[in-house]
Structures are given as structure tokens and as C-alpha cells.
């Protein structure tokens, strides 16, 4: 334990992933409620293309590939937004259903992203700065620098602020979009804003868990939180806490084994928490349900027995 407080890098990493987890958990609540988990998966995978394009762009401009987040995050954001808009366009123009359209986006963006990644890794002459790009697949939080953390912090905090400011509009629109529009709300803007925040949350999140596993960081804390409360505000707060805990614990655990990427460990911690929530939550949880059912059966038996007299 003492090691933890002495090791500056470990502390930074832990706090960083906890922060990321908190933001993803909160934003993930709305994604969960809007049934956009698959969209989140596709956006996450798509960001890889943006990251690679901007990395290669920085190499072409400066002669050295930059992995600084100030370069890569805009790329990721752009790719995420583009894949979303392209999906919407395809859905509007063809009779394809969402699952197929999303799947194809995945193929195109992630396939191209991997193509660029592998090409970059094997290119001759050597492209400096390319080591560590692979971490975007499964996350390697230990690679975060302080300036990275600043950028993550700024983006994360602004997203949360926007969410809090627009709380009741987001809530109304998520629950009843027709009613929301009928009260005069500009639902088109609300929808766009929510999607933007989703993309920002995902782009931040992939820094710790990577693109392949981002969907889990997005929806697992939210699903877990939902089991414990029926109040949206509490749910978002809980999901935030869950996300932070999973992020922090996961990154510390994965740091103990040098070979293991951060992403899978965080996801497993989150999954354990999810299973616990599913079974043990009061009222909704499976155990609570079983107890309620037993009680009902017992009282039904009593009534039946009483009726036989």
C-alpha cells in the first residue's frame, strides 16, 4: 500500500483512469438509456482510423509521429463523428437496419484503422513515435503523460458540466422525445449535443481501456448503477463512482503485471461489479426477487390451507 503512495507514476495513472472511468460512467448512463451501446462500440472502433490519420499527418508535417493527445484526440473525435453521421445517412437513405449499418461502419473504419496501424508499424524507413500506438487497441494507461491528463481532464469536466447544465432537457428528450419536441424544445440540437458528448466520453475512455473494449466501460457501470436506484440523478452519480473505482482498481492491478494491458482488467472488475449488482441489489436484484417470490408462495400456501378448512 505504501508503495502506491510513493510511486508517482502509479498514482498519476490510477487517478487518471479513475477520472476517465468517472466521466465514462456518467456519460454512459444516457447512452445506456437511449439504447446506444452498439453505437458506442462502433464509434470507439472508428476512432482508431482518426488516430492513425492524425498520427501519420503529424509525421508528414514534423517528421516525427506525435502521440500527444492534442494531436490524436481531435482525430479520434473527427472519425467518431464521421462514422456516426455516415451511419445516420445510410439508415436514412436505404432500407438497411441499424445493426447492419453499424456493422459495416465497423468494418470500414476499424478495418482501415488496422490497415494504417500495421502499415505504420512495418513501414520503412522507420516512423519514429510509432511505438505505443498498439496500446489503443486494449489500453495501456501507464503510457499517459501529464499533459495528456490535462487534456483529458478539461474535456471530461466540460462534458460533465454541459450534462449538468442541460440535465432536464437531456432527461426529457431521452425519455419522451415527442413530448419534448412538442414543448418547443429544439430536439435536433439536443440530440446532436448528446451524441457529441457521447463521442467525447468515448474518445477519453479509450485512453484507458482501448477501442475494442470501450463499450464495456461505457455501459457496464451504468447497467450496474441502474440496479441500485430508480432515480436518474442517483444513477448517474453511482455510475460515475463505479466507473472511477473500476478504473482505479483495474489500472493498479494491471500495473502489477507488466505484460497485461489495462483495458481487460478494468473491464473484468466492472463485470464483477455488474454481476454483484444484478444479484444483490435490493428490490431489483435477483436475490431480492427470489426472497419476494418465496414470501408470496408461502402466503399463497397459507391462504390455500385456510381455504380448505
Amino acid at each position: 500500500m505504501l508503495d502506491f503512495f510513493n510511486d508517482h507514476t502509479l498514482r498519476t495513472v490510477c487517478l487518471g483512469t479513475a477520472g476517465i472511468g468517472a466521466v465514462s460512467g456518467a456519460i454512459g448512463c444516457f447512452a445506456y438509456l437511449r439504447r446506444q451501446s452498439l453505437i458506442g462500440d462502433v464509434v470507439a472502433h472508428s476512432s482508431l482510423l482518426g488516430i492513425m490519420v492524425f498520427f501519420l499527418g503529424s509525421y508528414l508535417i514534423t517528421g516525427e509521429g506525435s502521440k500527444s493527445l492534442t494531436v490524436l484526440i481531435p482525430g479520434a473525435l473527427l472519425a467518431g463523428v464521421t462514422s456516426l453521421m455516415l451511419t445516420r445517412w445510410i439508415l436514412a437513405q436505404t432500407r438497411l437496419k441499424p445493426d447492419s449499418a453499424l456493422g459495416v461502419m465497423l468494418a470500414i473504419f476499424f478495418g482501415s484503422g488496422i490497415l494504417l496501424l500495421r502499415w505504420t508499424q512495418r513501414a520503412t524507413p522507420n516512423i519514429p513515435g510509432k511505438r505505443g500506438l498498439e496500446d489503443y487497441l486494449f489500453g495501456m494507461a501507464a503510457a499517459m503523460t501529464n499533459s495528456d491528463l490535462w487534456m483529458i481532464g478539461v474535456l471530461g469536466v466540460s462534458s460533465i458540466l454541459v450534462m449538468l447544465l442541460m440535465w432536464k432537457e437531456f432527461k426529457l428528450f431521452t425519455f419522451d422525445p415527442v413530448f419534448a419536441q412538442s414543448t418547443g424544445l429544439k430536439t435536433h440540437w439536443i440530440d446532436t449535443l448528446m451524441l457529441l458528448i457521447l463521442v467525447v466520453g468515448i474518445v477519453i475512455g479509450i485512453q484507458s481501456v482501448g477501442v475494442v473494449l470501450m463499450i464495456a466501460l461505457l455501459v457496464t457501470p451504468a447497467s450496474s448503477a441502474r440496479q441500485w436506484t430508480g432515480h436518474l440523478g442517483t444513477m448517474v452519480l453511482l455510475a460515475s463512482i463505479f466507473g472511477a473505482v473500476c478504473g482505479g482498481v483495474g489500472s493498479v492491478l494491471s500495473a502489477s503485471f507488466s505484460n497485461v494491458p489495462t483495458g481487460p482488467v478494468i473491464v473484468l472488475v466492472a463485470t464483477v461489479l455488474f454481476l454483484v449488482s444484478l444479484t444483490a441489489a435490493p428490490r431489483r436484484g435477483l436475490i431480492a426477487r427470489m426472497i419476494k417470490r418465496r414470501k408470496l408462495e408461502k402466503s399463497a400456501q397459507v391462504v390455500a390451507a385456510g381455504g380448505n378448512q
Binding site: K168, E169, F175, D176, V178, S182, G184, R226, G230, L232
Partner: protein, 277 residues
Amino acid sequence: MPKANPAIAIKGLTVAYDSVPVLWNVHLTIEQGVMMGVVGPNGAGKSTLLKAVLGVVPTLAGEVKVLGKPFRSHRQQIGYVPQRTSVDWDFPTTVLDLVKMGTYGRLGWFRRPGAKEKHDALAALDRFEMRGFANRQIGELSGGQQQRAFLARAYVQDAPIYFLDEPFAAVDATTEKAIIRLLKDLRDEGKTIVVVHHDLTTIMDYFDAITLVNKKIISSGPVATAFTSDLLNKTYGGPIKNCGIDCGFAQPPVQLRHPSSSPPPNIPTLPVEADDA
């Protein structure tokens, strides 16, 4: 005495999706204080009609006036009770929260609902005998309770007009009667109630007026005159001929009831059984 504005006045409304008309040249007037049923086959545009008046779907042509003013300035005058299938019942919200949503329109951007909104919401729940459910999750309600919660939301909006989209789908007969009773009470208080309805057998009992829709308005008026088997055949049967006769201003706008005039038409009251809906 000047004639009161109709609750809803629609002229020449056309709505098209992908350049395919879904509603064509709709002329419709709904007077205040009337309980109107809207019927038609599937895909006839009934829900689209409601949504067009609410301003939720883009219109290609036509004009909608709510209480005499262009609808854009009067959006909050309509309380909307959605189809049950389009609601996410697992959404984490209590009944009280749901009703409070009805106050968001008057709060505007950024302001939070406060004590006054809570008070108004509880009063609305009282009105529909749902006070005891204030802190229940909406997913825990029965069908009738769900409808009453949404009615309370419309009520707290202080809306003079209520739109209900298929409120009786998948609801049992007792609950249905109880809800009709509630709607009629609202109508007697002067509210205008418009219901998209699917059960043709109950039209005569429930409604003062009826509108038959199948992409165009086939007929609209008091149930006695606008709900004939001929017109029904036309609505549900084959293609429509000679539109110039049956729609447009060739038919005089329906005059039914003004709150200050004669007592309501004689509609037989239904015996209401146990009101546990």
C-alpha cells in the same frame, strides 16, 4: 357574443415522408370543449395528424392554429399522452418526476423544477387519484395507472387541449371505462379531448364528435352524422373518389359545443364498476 376560437383549426395540411404524401390537404376544425375520436385504418396518418399539430413532424403545406393563434406560439397548450408502446417503462423515474416533466415547458432552459412545481405536480396527481403512487417507479404501474400518470402530466401543463394516442390499446374493459370517465370529467371542465381510437364499437358511447381519416379527411362532425356505415366503408374500404365533395371547406366547419352554451349532447352514461384502475 363573439364566437370562441376553435381549439384546433387546420387548413390545407399536407405531410409527406420522402415525397410520399401521408396526409393530404387536411381541413379540420375541432371546437373547444369537445371529445373527438379519430379513427382510420393502419397507416392512415392518425398519429401523424396529432404529431403535425404538435409540431413534431415537418409539414409540406398548410396552416395549423391552436386557439386562434399560430401553433408555434401555443405549443404548450396541448397535453400529449403517448402510445404505451413508445414509452420506455424501465426508465428510472418516479411518477412524481414524470408529472413534473409537464412543468419543464414553462420553466424554460436551465431552470430546475422547485417547490412550486412539486406542489403543482402533487395537485395534479391528486386530481387523478394517483397521489399514493408519487414515489413509485413508472415501470411498477398497471396500465390504467400509467395512463393516469400521463394525464396528470398533461394536467399540470395546464393545457386546455389533450391529445391521446391509442390510450386503450392493451387495457382491460374496466380500466377503459374508468379512463373514459376521467376524460369526460375533463371535457365537462371545458377541456378539448382528441383521442386516436381503434375500437369502432365504442365510438358512439365515448365521443361527441368523430373524424374519419385515411390520408385525407373522409368526414368530421358529430357522431350522429359523421359516423355512418357509408363513410366507414369509404375510410376503410377501397380508393377514394371525388375528393372535392368530401373534404375541404365544402363541408361547413363542425359546430358542436361552446362551454357557455347548451348542455352537452345526451350521451348515455356507462355504469362504472370498481375504480381500481
